[in-house]
């Protein structure tokens, strides 16, 4: 039976929480894993993953596909990604609308591109190939970004939509990233979500961010979700409905219970908006 995660609230699976999860088996709707952490030949990563899979639905989220790179797709990587997807039974696979490698060199970061129609077409072609190859719904996530390009021809949301609609792929909409980029680039977050094709949004991300001395924001995943992001999340839920929502927390870790409690706040934020 296909996995139904409608309205589900998940948490990013992270090593500091394993002990608690295995000991207490908390009631969590789903976990999201970083695919690359499990694209290994053996050892604790795969042993722990098997224990999680015994009890919980898992969705896969990647950081290294580098779909916006000028370089061709790496099919050796995609082959391993697909094998992992078969192992996890993930209902979809996601990665970022970004690049992270150039000239055979890997930067291990999520880097932006100029928002041009030619680049959107280029990425869309690659995204279509990825989805066909994986034989699973494929979703691209919007970035937090810290620079904009002179060459850009359109706002980020038009570019994002252009890519996914041309490719026939899906969106993983990161609500915190919209807010971070809105401050860094000076746009209104509501403009971003005004024209989202909601039927393509498979999942939402929430996270905390940090403010720099100059007022710009960094997507640090090390703090509670800010009120302004919860407000934007409520707007997203108004428009998109009960989309599976995932809290990311990647540094200055809280206990699992505290992290899960932060994720579950999503239910209270959307209940009054969606119930009616």
């Amino acid at each position: 039976m296909p996995l139904d995660l409608t309205g589900a609230i998940g948490v990013g699976l992270r090593v500091p929480h394993y002990r608690h999860i295995f000991a207490h088996r908390p009631d969590v709707d789903f976990f999201e894993i970083i695919s690359e952490n499990f694209m290994v030949d053996g050892g604790p990563p795969l042993e722990n993953l098997e224990r999680i899979l015994d009890r919980y639905p898992v969705v896969q989220h990647g950081v290294s596909l580098s779909i916006a790179s000028a370089e061709p797709l790496d099919f050796a990587y995609l082959k391993r990604l697909k094998a992992l997807a078969r192992r996890t039974g993930t209902p979809w696979v996601s990665d970022h609308l970004c690049w992270s490698q150039a000239g055979g060199r890997h930067y291990h970061d999520l880097l932006p591109v100029p928002y041009t129609l030619d680049i959107a077409k280029f990425i869309a072609e690659k995204a279509r190939v990825v989805q066909d190859y994986l034989e699973l719904p494929f979703a691209l996530e919007n970035l937090s970004s810290y620079v904009s390009f002179a060459e850009s021809e359109m706002p980020e949301w038009d570019f994002y939509r252009e890519v996914v609609e041309r490719a026939g792929v899906n969106m993983l909409l990161d609500v915190n990233n919209i807010y971070v980029s809105s401050v860094n680039h000076g746009f209104a977050p509501l403009d971003y979500i005004a024209d989202i094709p909601w039927e393509r949004v498979l999942q939402l991300h929430l996270a905390g961010h940090s403010e720099q001395p100059d007022g710009s924001l960094l997507d640090t995943h090390d703090k509670p979700v800010k009120d302004v992001v919860w407000a934007l999340y409520r707007e997203v839920c108004d428009r998109g409905g009960l989309i599976p929502t995932l809290l990311e927390w990647d540094d200055n870790y809280l206990s699992f219970e505290e992290t899960h409690a932060q994720a579950l706040l999503a239910k209270t934020h959307r209940r009054d908006r969606v119930a009616g």
Partner: protein, 280 residues
Amino acid sequence: MSPVEPPDGLAALQAAFGEAIATPLVIGGPETLIQVERYPELALRAVLGRGERSGPERLTTYNKQYWFRLLTVMQEEFPLLRHLMGLTAFNQMVTGYLAQHPSRSKLLQHLSDELEGFLATSERWARPEWRQAARLERLYIRAFDAAALPALDPAALSPEAAAALLSAPLRLQPHWALFEEDWALVSWRRRVKDDADDAIAVTLEASPGRWALYRRGRVQAEALTAPQLALLKRLAAGLSLQAACDGLTEALEPEAMAEVGAGIQSWFARWVSLGWFAAP
């Protein structure tokens, strides 16, 4: 499937952007310096400023993130080397290493693939204890997530297969490796690996050791005697147990050979119990 051609200029832009964000930081002075003047012109022209921040200033966010991320990964994976060198020197070494050997893999486990060779050929960082520590910590990284084949269980073998164990090459687990040291590096690594604040001062003294590193739940190290090491080296080279023992008479003194004769059964039983050998 025909490859999709990238738009004109995208590869050049990404190469320039990448070069800018990987521009080494200057570490070691009162504050870490960012060398914006070394960013490629193409990258500087491509990005826009906003408010009080110029385009180049906005690029520094990625430049700092690049080095912060990779230095953190290396600090976590090389706790002993970090303690031996001191944090500032370690960060300087890693900066030099990654400038010469940038990452060529999507997976961060491969970030240090060339480190031992870099240390061996670097004028500034070529101290033998540092190189040996780097080798040890690379073995730990490899052992952590290497494959584990089904382990040899002599009791589960047919009489014919059990008899053949003596004369057939034994397969060692992919996570298993031998390590020889001139200082007590394995022991120091155990002490400092969770010392994130670098509170423990390491003082190395000559202390030769021989170890087998392997994974059983976690990565572990088993101390070996010289005859055990000699025997395991021959097994790892693909010799059968019989051939490995036979050849030892040329490699070992008579006293050591006597140790082999007396201990081989119990050694082998222990190594099997630790899961070092794969089933045939």
